[in-house]
C-alpha cells in the first residue's frame, strides 16, 4: 500500500496536511498527536512584521460549523524562522509556510526572507476574509490574483501554492489566473464569509461583525469547488473545507485533489488529522487500493 503523494516535486508520506490557521505551528497539537505521522504541517499565516489581529470576540459557533475573525494575528516572519522552523524540523513531516500581507510588497518581503529557509513549500494567502487590505481583497479579482502571484513567484525559491477564496461567483477564473501567474499548486477553500447576531444583546457576535465560516457544514461547497478547479487547471490541488474524517478526505481525493487539509476538525478532535490518515489506510486495505493516486480524480 502506497499513500505517498508528489506535489510539485515534494513527496509527502501521505496526502493529509493541516489547514493554515487551525494548527499553529504544531506545538499545541504535539501534546496529543505524533507530528511525524502528518504528510505536512501548513503553519498559521506569517507576515513580514508581527500582526496584532482583530479584537475579541473572534469566534462564534454556527450550525455545523464556526465563524472566526482572528485577522491573521502572528508574531512575524523573523520570530517564525527563529522559533517555529527549528521546532517543526524535529519531526519527519513537510513544512508549508502560509504567507500573508497587506500589499504585494509585504508578501514579497516575507518570501524574500524565507529564501534559503529550511521549509518545503510556500502557500500564498490571498483569501483571508478577516483583513481589510490584502487577503481576500486580492484573491477575488482574477487580474489582481495574476499580478500578486507572478510578483511573489519571481522571488520564491520553493514551490508556490496559491490558496483561493470561495467568495467568488466562479472559482475557476481565479484558479486559472493563479495558474497563469505561475502558481505551482492551488489550495482551496479558505473560509466563506458569514455572520451571526446575538438577538438578546442585539449585536453581531463577532467584533468585526463578519467572519469566515468553516466546519463540516461547508464541505459540500468546498468539494464542488475542488471538483470544478481540478477540471479547469492542470496544477495539483490541495482540497480543504469541512474535512473531518477519512470519508470526507477520500471524497476530495476522488474529486481530484492530490492532498487534503484538516482544519476546524482539529478543534473538535485534536487527533482528527491522524485519525484521517488511519482511516484512509483502512479504506485502501479494505478495498484493495494499491496507490492513493489510483483513486485520485476518478470522478469524471
Amino acid at each position: 500500500m502506497n499513500t505517498k503523494v508528489d506535489i510539485c516535486g515534494v513527496t509527502l508520506k501521505n496526502p493529509v496536511m493541516t489547514a493554515s490557521g487551525t494548527f499553529g505551528s504544531g506545538r499545541e497539537y504535539s501534546e496529543f498527536i505524533d507530528l511525524n505521522r502528518l504528510g505536512a504541517v501548513v503553519v498559521k499565516g506569517v507576515a513580514d512584521k508581527p500582526w496584532p489581529g482583530n479584537p475579541a470576540p473572534r469566534i462564534a459557533e454556527v450550525y455545523g460549523g464556526m465563524l472566526n475573525s482572528v485577522g491573521l494575528q502572528n508574531p512575524g516572519v523573523d520570530w517564525f524562522m527563529e522559533n517555529d522552523i527549528p521546532f517543526l524540523r524535529q519531526f519527519d513531516t513537510k513544512i508549508i509556510v502560509n504567507v500573508c500581507g497587506h500589499s504585494i510588497e509585504e508578501y514579497v518581503n516575507v518570501v524574500k526572507k524565507l529564501r534559503g529557509a529550511d521549509v518545503d513549500m510556500l502557500e500564498l494567502n490571498i483569501s483571508c476574509p478577516n483583513v481589510s487590505e490584502g487577503g481576500m481583497a486580492f484573491g477575488t479579482d482574477p487580474v489582481m490574483v495574476k499580478k500578486v502571484v507572478s510578483a511573489v513567484k519571481k522571488e520564491a525559491d520553493k514551490p508556490l501554492i496559491v490558496k483561493l477564496s470561495p467568495n467568488v461567483t466562479d472559482i475557476t477564473l481565479t484558479a486559472r489566473a493563479a495558474e497563469e501567474g505561475g502558481a505551482d499548486a492551488l489550495s482551496l477553500i479558505n473560509t466563506l464569509t458569514g455572520m451571526k447576531i446575538d438577538i438578546y444583546r442585539r449585536q453581531p457576535v463577532l467584533s468585526r461583525k463578519i467572519g469566515g465560516m468553516s466546519g463540516p457544514a461547508v464541505k459540500p461547497i468546498a468539494l464542488r469547488m475542488v471538483y470544478e478547479v481540478c477540471r479547469a487547471v492542470s496544477l495539483p490541488v490541495i482540497g480543504m473545507g469541512g474535512i473531518s474524517n477519512a470519508e470526507d478526505a477520500l471524497e476530495f481525493i476522488m474529486a481530484g485533489a492530490s492532498a487534503v487539509s484538516i482544519g476546524t476538525a482539529s478543534f473538535i478532535n485534536p487527533s482528527a488529522a491522524v485519525d484521517t490518515i488511519d482511516g484512509i489506510e483502512e479504506y485502501m486495505k479494505k478495498y484493495n487500493v494499491e496507490n492513493i493516486s489510483d483513486i485520485r480524480g476518478i470522478i469524471e
Binding site: G21, T22, F23, G24, R27, E28, Y29, E31, F32, K44, P52, G53, P55, A56, P57, R58, I59, A60, E61, Y63, G64, G65, M66, N68, V70, Q73, V205, G215, P216, T264, S266, F267, I268, N269, P270, S271
Partner: protein, 253 residues
C-alpha cells in the same frame, strides 16, 4: 500534560434553577489538574461542534474526579445539564495556567458563576483566607457554606441586598476594609476591572481569571484574546493558553 478523556458522569444535580453541579470521573485529567485551570467539554451532538470551556471547581485526585459547577447559558451547557450519572462525555484538559498560590493572607473574590474555581483554590491555600462573593440575589447565591467549611471567613454581597451586603463585591471590600497579601479572583469582566483598581490602590497583587469565546482551548486557533501590556504597548494574549489567569495590572481593561 493535556489529554482527551472519555469521562463518565459520577454525579450530577442542580444548585439553582440554572446552575449545574457535575462531577466527572477522569483520572488522567484529575491527576494533572491545578486550581484555576479549566476543561473543554464537547457537546458531540453533531450540531454544536465546539467544546465549552468550564472552570474546574474541585479536584479529587484520590477518586480521579473533577467537579464542575456551571451556568446553563446555551445549547451546549443545557445538553451537559441533562446528562445522567454514568453517561459518557468527551473532555479535554486540564487547560490553561491556574492561579499561582502564594503564602500569606489570601483574599478570594468571586462574582456569580466565577465563584466555582475559587473552591479548589481556597482548599489548597494554607494561610489566613478571606472570601468575598457577589451574586445577583439570594436565589443565585452558591457555594457560600462550602467556603466556610474550608476555614475561610466569608463575606457575601448581592445586587438587591437579599443576601448579605447590598452592593457589589468591591463596595463590600471598601466598607469592610478587606485587605491581604494576594487577591485571587474570577467573575464578570466589569467586576474584575473595579477589583483591579481596588487592588492597585491598596498595593495588593491581584490575579484575575478571564474568559473569552474559544474554539480549540489549547492555543492553536488564537480566538480567545485579551489585551495585555508589554514593552511596546500591548499584545493579544490567549486566554486559553497564556491565561486564563493574568496579573490584573497587566490587563488592558
Amino acid at each position: 500534560m493535556k489529554t482527551v478523556e472519555n469521562t463518565a458522569v459520577a454525579s450530577i444535580g442542580l444548585l439553582t434553577d440554572d446552575i449545574c453541579d457535575m462531577t466527572l470521573h477522569c483520572p488522567e485529567i484529575a491527576s494533572h489538574a491545578k486550581a484555576g485551570q479549566f476543561v473543554e467539554l464537547y457537546p458531540d451532538n453533531g450540531v454544536n461542534l465546539l467544546a465549552r470551556p468550564i472552570s474546574i471547581c474541585a479536584i479529587d485526585t484520590g477518586n480521579g474526579n473533577i467537579r464542575l459547577v456551571f451556568r446553563i447559558v446555551g445549547k451546549g451547557t443545557e445538553l451537559f445539564s441533562r446528562l445522567n450519572t454514568g453517561d459518557r462525555i468527551r473532555v479535554l484538559g486540564p487547560c490553561g495556567n491556574g492561579f499561582s498560590l502564594s503564602e500569606g493572607r489570601a483574599v478570594l473574590v468571586g462574582g456569580g458563576i466565577g465563584v466555582p474555581p475559587l473552591i479548589e483554590t481556597c482548599r489548597q491555600l494554607r494561610g489566613d483566607k478571606t472570601v468575598v462573593l457577589g451574586f445577583r440575589d439570594k436565589s443565585n447565591a452558591i457555594l457560600c457554606d462550602e467556603f466556610e467549611a474550608l476555614g475561610a471567613k466569608v463575606h457575601v454581597a448581592s445586587d438587591d441586598g437579599s443576601i448579605g451586603f447590598k452592593g457589589n463585591v468591591v463596595e463590600l471590600m471598601k466598607s469592610e476594609n478587606i485587605t491581604g497579601d494576594m487577591i485571587y479572583s474570577c467573575g464578570p469582566r466589569i467586576m474584575l476591572r473595579f477589583l483591579s483598581d481596588y487592588a492597585i490602590e491598596r498595593g495588593i497583587p491581584c490575579q484575575v481569571s478571564m474568559e473569552e469565546r474559544m474554539a480549540c482551548g489549547i492555543g492553536a486557533c488564537v480566538g480567545c484574546v485579551v489585551r495585555i501590556k508589554d514593552r511596546d504597548g500591548w499584545t493579544h494574549k490567549k486566554v486559553c493558553k497564556d491565561g486564563p489567569v493574568f496579573d490584573s495590572r497587566e490587563v488592558i481593561w
